[in-house]
């Protein structure tokens, strides 16, 4: 694979970096990244990874763009309202960089399709908004032994965490199960400062590129928490948990399954009760 003159110019600021160079840029061009959720986190991740020249970007999302999404989901613009997010996302990615092959899945990631989907990619980026999906992505990445860059945002707080299956702590090494339904705000009612999606999503993209390039130190065995109110980052050390139900010494999770979906109504009902 050889770059054209145009591509050499497009990626020149990468190629200039000794850690990347032409060799590294080729690794990026050959890489395949799956972004689960074309929303707040998925948007900035997709755009920067596209700009970086990632060979194939997979986008999976079953939603259409809604007016309340536009405050943070920068893949989608006002004329995209009502259009499938994967369609809108693909257009923006290809307008930014026609080199990128975009594969779209207008679907939800579920236990039934997760493994097959993930197996076709080198790195997975978690940009979903609910715990059942976050746990499923973690489980599928551990089973498929694919690196995962987890991200989460809520109100003014964000978190990034990289999982290299069987080598570093997985999400279940820390959180064994999703929180009881209705207890933790994760639905629309909680709110989020829009730019936080950009901060966390671009850190996820940085991690994904580092993994593909094989440079630096991945964000493994430590959670990076960001507090936008104080503009402060904090690292929490983690390590593989021998009691992890998924990747521990005596795993109890031996196949993929879907956790019960969260219910915002349930929480509402509790408040009213």
């Amino acid at each position: 694979m050889e770059f054209t003159d145009e591509q050499i110019t497009r990626y020149s600021r990468h190629i200039l970096l000794p850690e990347v160079g032409g060799k590294g840029q080729k690794k990026i061009a050959k890489s395949r990244m799956l972004i689960v959720g074309a929303g707040g986190l998925g948007s900035p991740a997709a755009l920067y990874l596209a700009a970086a020249g990632v060979g194939t970007i997979g986008l999976i999302d079953s939603d259409v763009a809604d007016l309340s999404n536009l405050q943070r989901q920068i893949l989608h613009h006002t004329p995209d309202l009502g259009r499938p997010k994967v369609v809108s996302g693909k257009e923006k990615i290809q307008a930014l960089n026609p080199d990128v092959n975009v594969v779209t899945y207008e679907d939800r990631l579920i236990a039934k399709n997760a493994l097959e989907l993930i197996r076709g990619y080198d790195v997975v980026i978690d940009g979903v908004d609910n715990f059942p999906a976050k746990f499923l992505i973690n489980d599928a990445c551990v089973f498929a032994e694919k690196p995962l860059v987890h991200g989460g945002i809520l109100r003014f707080d964000g978190r990034v965490f990289t999982v290299i299956p069987k080598k570093s702590a997985c999400y279940r090494c820390v959180f064994k199960n999703p929180p009881p339904p209705g207890l933790v705000a994760s639905c629309q009612e909680a709110g989020v400062i829009g730019v936080l999606a950009g901060i966390i999503g671009t850190i996820q993209a940085t991690e994904a590129l580092k993994l593909v390039l094989g440079i630096g130190r991945p964000l493994t065995d430590r959670m990076l928490d960001f507090d936008a109110r104080r503009t402060s980052f904090r690292e929490i050390k983690t390590r593989r948990n021998p009691n992890c139900p998924l990747c521990g010494e005596h795993p109890t999770i031996t196949e993929l399954f879907d956790h019960e979906p969260e219910s915002c109504e349930l929480k509402q009902a509790k408040v009213e009760a």
Binding site: G42, G152, L154
Partner: protein, 66 residues
């Protein structure tokens, strides 16, 4: 006694990790707990004592993304 909770030194009273959670009004179901960089199983929150100089992390779930 002084312990570090989520990176901040705090003067606390009480003997167990569960006491700390109660004092802070945190529902144990809402956090993963790390004691001196090792995950602490929820079953042991009530029986694990906190000692001077311990580092405790209460890790909250952070779920959003869309």
């Amino acid at each position: 006694m002084q312990v570090k909770i989520n990176g901040k030194a705090e003067e606390v009273q009480g003997a167990t990790v569960l006491d700390l959670l109660k004092a802070k009004n945190i529902d144990p179901h809402m956090v993963a707990v790390e004691l001196n960089n090792t995950m602490l199983e929820h079953d042991y929150l009530a029986t694990t004592s906190v000692k001077e100089g311990d580092q405790v992390e209460f890790l909250f779930y952070m779920g959003g993304g869309q």
